[in-house]
Amino acid sequence: MKSKTLFDKIWDSHIVRSIEAGPDVLYIDRHYIHEVTSPQAFNGLKERGIPVFRPGKTIATADHNIPTKNQHLPISDQLSRNQVERLSENCQKYGIELFGLNHPKNGIVHVIGPELGYTLPGMTIVCGDSHTSTHGAFGTIAFGIGTSEVEMVLATQCILQPKPKKMRISLDGKLHKGVTSKDIIMYIISEISASGATGYFVEYCGSVIRSLSMEARMTICNMSIEMGARGGLIAPDETTFDYLRKLPSIPGIYNIKSSVNEWKKLKSDTDAIFDNELKFDAGLIKPMITYGTNPGMGMAIDASIPLSDEKGNNKATSSYLKSLDYMGFKPGMKLLGHPIDYVFIGSCTNGRIEDFRAFAQIIRGRKKANNITALIVPGSKKVEEQMVAEGLVEVYKNAGFEVRQPGCSSCLAMNEDKIPQGKYSVSTSNRNFEGRQGPGSRTLLASPLTAAAAAITGRLTDPREFITEEKKVKN
């Protein structure tokens, strides 16, 4: 039999029908929905007069537009409130399980899916959200879709999808102190650009990927879309199985032992062929920061904004200069020491317990800088509970930080958590687009450690100054 990549194995086993010279009809095992990209899809079902085909395979949450303060009160923004109410109505009408606002298991869709055991190795997973790639950390084919496709899945549990090409990214070498999974993926994106993996589905492998925790792997897969990839996945291993074994329950799985035996088969054949292969040396990675308005515009925190690319081509195209101008930066500038106004920790990229532990590691026993406004937003209720249980909320409080309630918050600023015009935000989220965190906001993407260092000093600071070699960061 022909050798296959893990991606091929999962994809091919989910084809209901292949259309000649067309897309495949792909069966979807798990469908996540949220309030912003689902209402028009439900309207479509209503117009057609058809039900949700397999309501048990769809899981819903409210996360994108909800406030992160006083969640027990009605949402003050009328349009947002309407969207959240419509989600509740639709879930009730069509029999879909909803972890909505004020539900004890509410949270960001890509945080709660894994923590509630709905994301399992070998699945096909879609959601009307580009960061669905997060779930690839479990060895799944998970990708973001548009609302027309949400409607397809609700109506038929299938999606029409052309098969992407395959890319393998290997990461070996020794990871230095203060370098996290966020820095790894930001480094890769800065090397291959914000469109470097468009058209591809990525498999991450190598000794460094193997050494990472599930949460760290999720951060890497999460940002696959930021280099244009359709998604990214990591073959499941003992780390994956341990994570799943420790969950209180896994819906639909009664004998985890036999499931694990099946999941162990999920890997690329040794001689499988990828359309593109890239290798990186982890030893070259430093804490990363972005300086522009797409995630490809990233550099080591102690570097200068590049004047030319690695091939020596002048980078100063009008788009590049427009981007720097928006940020208030110039080519050749160093950013270390640059004053910062806001710090945001949270989002589906860095809103899990390990991220808040990493942040706490630096702020513990210190005080927040006076010029910093901090948004500390757990990814889910469960993360919030764990922060309380581990005493992290106290650590944050003592350092002058207020912990908010869960939600997507300032990652896309659909709610009140907006960064004001012209202000600089060091953010653990995934996009530094113009106005992403509020009209005129200026975002510098970074790891939780780098965000913490900026929160303490009030300036862009190398987090390695706060970390000793002994206290090696596992994130």
């Binding site: 912003v36 085909f53 537009n65 580009s130 879709i145 548009g146 469109s195 468009t198 113009e434 106005g435």
Partner: protein, 199 residues
């Protein structure tokens, strides 16, 4: 349900000569709170179209009366970022029927095709030429023939073939609907499920 059809389009163009135009620029997140597909065109490129104080930014191409048309010509990697289909709804609602670039983000491309907005990929060189032509001569017309898969700049005679998935081409030409197509396969889907539960 029948969908919008696309066959031949002859139109002037609007040029947006920036690279990496992401879906947050096309329609900022704060305008995503609607529950219908209509009306997003008013906020297309909102933060470029209007100043901080809410006035029209006369420097922006959509506010320059000499530039009109149903074809948007944009720099490479158009539509990157968020999967929001609202970006396509906004472009369509504003009145565009085709977007031309040298490179599109994957999800944007799918969303466009699912809504009757034709994404056309041309070479970097031709894109550069077209952008400069349109900027200098706003009456520059292009012709798009979906059946023949040709894209032509009428004033210069530059004509290229563009690629499109044959299934999607047929859908657009005939106004066919993906969901009707999938619903017609219900028995295959159920057979797949039954087969899978046995393994």
């Amino acid at each position: 349900m029948p969908k919008v059809k696309f066959d031949i389009l002859e139109s002037t163009c609007v040029a947006l000569p920036f690279e990496n135009v992401d879906t947050d620029q096309i329609i900022p997140a704060r305008f995503l709170s609607a529950t219908s597909r209509q009306g997003f065109g008013d906020n297309l490129f909102r933060d470029w179209r209007y100043t901080k104080t809410g006035e029209k930014n006369n420097e922006f191409v959509l506010n320059k009366p000499e530039y009109t048309g149903k074809v948007l010509v944009a720099g490479k990697n158009f539509g990157s970022g968020s999967s929001r289909e609202h970006a396509v709804w906004a472009i369509f609602d504003y009145g565009f029927r085709a977007v031309v670039s040298s490179f599109f983000a994957d999800i944007f491309m799918n969303n466009a095709l699912n809504n009757g907005l034709l994404p056309i990929v041309i070479s970097d060189d031709l894109l550069k030429k077209l952008l400069s032509l349109v900027q200098n001569k706003p009456d520059t017309k292009v012709k798009i023939d979906l059946e023949k898969q040709t894209f032509t700049i009428l004033s210069t005679g530059d004509s290229v073939k563009f690629g499109i998935n044959p299934y999607k081409k047929e859908c657009l030409l005939k106004g066919l609907d993906d969901i009707d197509f999938l619903l017609s396969m219900k028995s295959s889907i159920i057979a797949y499920e039954n087969n899978k539960s046995l393994t």
